[in-house]
Amino acid sequence: MKPKKILGANEISTILNRLSFQLIEDHSSFKNTVLVGIQPRGSLLAKRIATLINNYNKSNNLKIGYLDITFFRDDFRRSEKVLKANSTKLDFSIENKTVVLVDDVLFTGRSIRAALSAIQSFGRPLAVKLLTLIDRRFSRELPIQPDYCGTQVDSRLNEKVIVNWKENNNEDSVYLIKNN
């Protein structure tokens, strides 16, 4: 199967702007709201959105952190590969804050389940929201849905969604490929 392009740079830019405005609408000053990117793939998205929000608000109030969920995953010792960890960087308290978890693709929901457990090691948030660029609907294995969603994609289990960011791959794009 030829990779199928789902989103191009322009569409991604429009979506990121919309998601930022949705967040601004709900959290205005971001005094009690923090963005937490799920490592490794949610971090770039979180950074992009934080920049857009900061530019609009003309401030640097928005706190952003990165959460690694490796040690909280439920497939350790159940898959062939070793789960390799990334770094966690949360320099602020999340106690009584609204945490917006950010990830690029929502698929089975298991990563988000792990993130929900992992975030508790850092305190008790007031609320946890979920933002994803791609929602692969109909493939959920857990009752988890996004609060802020870029776009929904219908895909089969043997397909994979690849998100490229210009910081890493020279272009912003999203492809659907067949997973071998």
Binding site: T70, F71, K81, Q120, S121, F122
Partner: protein, 308 residues
């Protein structure tokens, strides 16, 4: 994805430099975890680990147990005093009995060199050597190297000096292997009677002049004089040993550069090093202890990934 090349941790000898770096990289992540408010992750919640200590230990035992608990593993402890060992049970029987209770991993300290290698050949379980007699103490060497890298960066071409009872020290042998696999040059120093005859076959330099050896090193690991392993006298008196091989503040200050001082513990204050040196800012002895937990978490996490 990378994986360890071994299924057991019997000694540093059996690891390659990729293994070492993978363990260090993973330990970085665990170090962050144990500095959180809630220092626990659920990774090993379906793994049961037995700590078998046939020899006394404070630090290593505590460190392993803490690491296991931080990983949410189930832990059973065993020490040889008050056990069936005194009724004449063999090591293989003891361990097989414990494994029959569905234990996935065995951490063992034993007074006989090679005990963990012997065990790994005879039983089917993951074994971590927590010190076997005068042979190896791999997790100690890992945490030593990790702590040193944290202070002075990449060990490539760095000069590391190990001082003291090289002959009876399992820390020395594991350290030599670890530092060499990381590209460092190792020198050993101590009374001739405490340096094995064929040590040069390990590609280490021998220097019996303590001050001269110190001048050429970036870091020094001061080993403990192990009275419990010495059946005879290896040097005339402790006082003479201190005069020749004890590290004090004035020696340290007389060197051109600030070297790092390490000690695997337990310290004989006033013998290998003076209190002043042990508590100085050049000593990283307590960093070593802190890193020990992170290193052991990394080792058990990576080995657990290979459990069948």
């Amino acid at each position: 994805m990378e994986n360890l090349s071994v299924d057991n941790l019997l000694g540093i000898k059996y690891l390659n430099s990729n293994d070492l770096n993978l363990i260090f990289k993973t330990a970085d992540n665990f170090k962050e975890v144990i500095n959180r408010k809630i220092k626990k992750v659920p990774s090993l919640r379906d793994v049961t680990i037995a700590n078998l200590f046939f020899e006394n230990s404070t630090r290593t035992k505590l460190s392993f147990e803490l690491a296991q608990k931080r990983l949410s593993a189930d832990v059973v402890n065993f020490s040889s005093s008050g056990s069936s060992i005194s009724k004449g049970e063999t090591l293989i029987d003891t361990v097989n009995n414990i494994i029959s209770m569905k234990v996935d991993m065995v951490v063992m300290r034993h007074p006989s060199p090679g005990a963990s290698v012997f065990l790994s050949k005879n039983i089917d379980s993951c074994i971590i050597n927590a010190g076997d007699g005068t042979h190896e103490h791999p997790t100690q060497a890992l945490l030593d190297a990790y702590s040193l890298i944290e202070k002075i960066g990449n060990l490539k071409n760095k000069n590391i000096l190990i001082v003291g009872d090289i002959m009876h020290s399992r820390v020395a042998l594991s350290n030599i292997y670890a530092y060499q696999k990381l590209g460092a040059n190792v020198t050993v120093c101590g009374p001739k009677s405490l340096i094995p005859n064929d040590i040069e076959s390990l590609n280490v330099t021998v220097d019996t002049d303590f001050i001269n050896a110190l001048k050429h090193c970036d870091a020094v690991n001061m080993l403990r004089i192990q009275n419990e392993r010495m059946s005879e006298s290896y040097f005339p008196s402790v006082r003479e040993y201190v005069q020749q091989y004890g590290l004090n503040k004035s020696i340290l200050d007389s060197l051109d550069k600030k070297i790092i001082v390490m000690h695997p513990g337990p310290i004989n204050r006033g013998v290998e090093i003076t209190s002043e040196v042990a508590d100085s800012d050049q000593a990283i002895i307590l960093d070593q202890v802190e890193n020990g937990v992170a290193i052991r978490m990394a080792v058990m996490y990576l080995l657990a990934a290979k459990l069948k």
